[in-house]
Symmetry: C2
Subunit: 297 residues, 2 copies
């Protein structure tokens, strides 16, 4: 998401300072972005990166939901603590607004309502989700105390070009890569786990729109509003690639998974011009093309 | 609250290990309590204190709402981080249940509903409130992940014997002390700020009841359910002490104050035998007696 956003910003003429884990592989680096390759907790590097910036997009996280539960104290220290320090830097510096990538799939926990609106209870089942939620509350606090403007995007499951097929997050890229490279497809649990997939280009657009938004709603879901199961993805990937007889391997369910996560996107659609523009099968096709060209399949 | 709870536990035959800031003045120390006089962040001292314990009551905080906003990052580090470490100690040790003193006056923020039920939105206006809320979420997480039993009491404004008249928290003790010592009474703001005052003996009883409670509701408001303004307290103190003509000084309102905080206590009253037993004027009288005897007025 970060790299897609950087590219979208550069395309529009912004001067972009990146901060965090720089892509190891040179082919993923955008030469237009000045990059600080530092860990979040390096507060002096963070201060240098924030200096003179007008808008801060905060997408940095050291963990994913599953890994965050192994050591919640460390996860808190690595993510929430430096975020509050970042807010201190923003409020004392020239930053006009901070836009935060929260997590529509984890802040609600096991949702009582599907699709889930922003007003639903927030009962995270992972340290990752608790951290995202706590950061939302600190943003509201700094706005109240110091007038620092902010916007929170509770983003559904992003997919699209740039998503690594080799990490535990990113089921779409993983399934595409395995299918395209002739490997068996892996399904965690029964395959009925349901997620709301949103194309990374739509996510980038939501970040850009958030900068200009000045209404009263500061927390917005960003998703397709539609649920798809892992079994759906496998079937659609087979269709799109024209590979009807791919081998499927079933693996154990993951502990941090909530069974269903689909976001209610009525608020962002009612109050802004943002819409999900990339149709699902088109998104699968352009992600497949990116996987194919990137990994020389 | 901690010292009253220790006394109530000792009265019932419990072996009590205290941890945190020991009272500086010897007259406030209970000889029945073994005390570890350590800061929360001293994790090896914390480990020694938790070892072999069956029930942990967590009432420790390094700040009050107002002071917490001066340095939210430090407040997070001093309170939430060691709490998560404490949960790690509890789950790997013999601890059966942890009972947490959350804050009915700060987790909700500016309440949309008065009196405020547990299901109300939680939008704290202080780092203190954010910390309390985050800790509630970590308790739920550790229960889910590791089966550590817990109970959260969202406590209203406690008052009663033992409350220092000299701190920024504790308006009842402060007003009583000033009246009894012939000083002018201080009112912050217009005096219309409304709070839900609950006697410390009732709070102790709620902690004791929480140990035995094994129903499905893990977060409960603890309060009188009735709002009283600062002006009400001043009038009632004048009545109880028989001092109709005390001088009153008005001071500026405090930034972290929410205008009204009154808790809806229907849940705890419906699901447990707990009731507020100490009538307000009786509570004022026994607090006055304690202030008089303690400070030799």
């Amino acid at each position: 998401m970060g790299h897609a956003l950087c590219a979208a910003l550069c395309d529009r003429g912004a001067v972009v300072q990146g901060y965090g884990r720089m892509p190891e592989d040179e082919k993923f680096r955008d030469p237009r972005v000045v990059w600080s390759n530092a860990v979040f907790s390096d507060l002096s590097a963070l201060a240098r990166a924030v200096e003179g910036q007008e808008i801060v997009f905060h997408l940095l996280s050291s963990s994913i939901p599953e890994s965050s539960n192994r050591d919640p104290a460390e996860d808190l220290f690595a993510n929430v603590f430096p975020t509050v320090k970042l807010l201190d830097l923003c409020r004392t510096g020239d930053v006009r607004k901070i836009v935060f990538a929260s997590s529509g799939g984890t802040v609600y926990g096991i949702p009582a309502t599907i699709p889930t609106p922003e007003s639903a209870p927030t009962e995270p089942t992972s340290a990752y989700g608790i951290n995202k939620l706590a950061i939302e509350k600190y943003l509201a606090l700094y706005h109240r105390l110091h007038g620092l403007d902010y916007h929170v995007l509770r983003i559904a499951n992003p997919y699209g070009p740039g998503q690594s097929p080799f990490k535990k997050q990113g089921v779409v890229a993983s399934i595409l890569y395995r299918a395209l490279s002739g490997r068996a497809l892996e399904i965690w649990g029964t395959g009925d786990v349901t997620r709301d997939f949103i194309h990374v280009d739509d996510v980038s657009q939501a970040f850009l729109d958030a900068v200009r938004y000045d209404g009263e709603h500061r927390i917005m879901n960003v998703g397709s509003g539609r649920g798809r199961t892992i079994n759906d993805i496998v079937a659609d990937v087979q269709d799109v690639l024209g590979m009807p007889s791919v081998e499927i391997v079933r693996k154990p369910a993951r502990a941090a998974d909530v069974p269903v996560s689909v976001l209610d996107t009525a608020l962002i659609m009612r109050t802004t011009a943002w819409r999900p523009r990339v149709a699902w099968l088109d998104g699968l096709r352009n992600t497949a093309a990116w996987v194919r060209s990137t990994y020389e399949l």
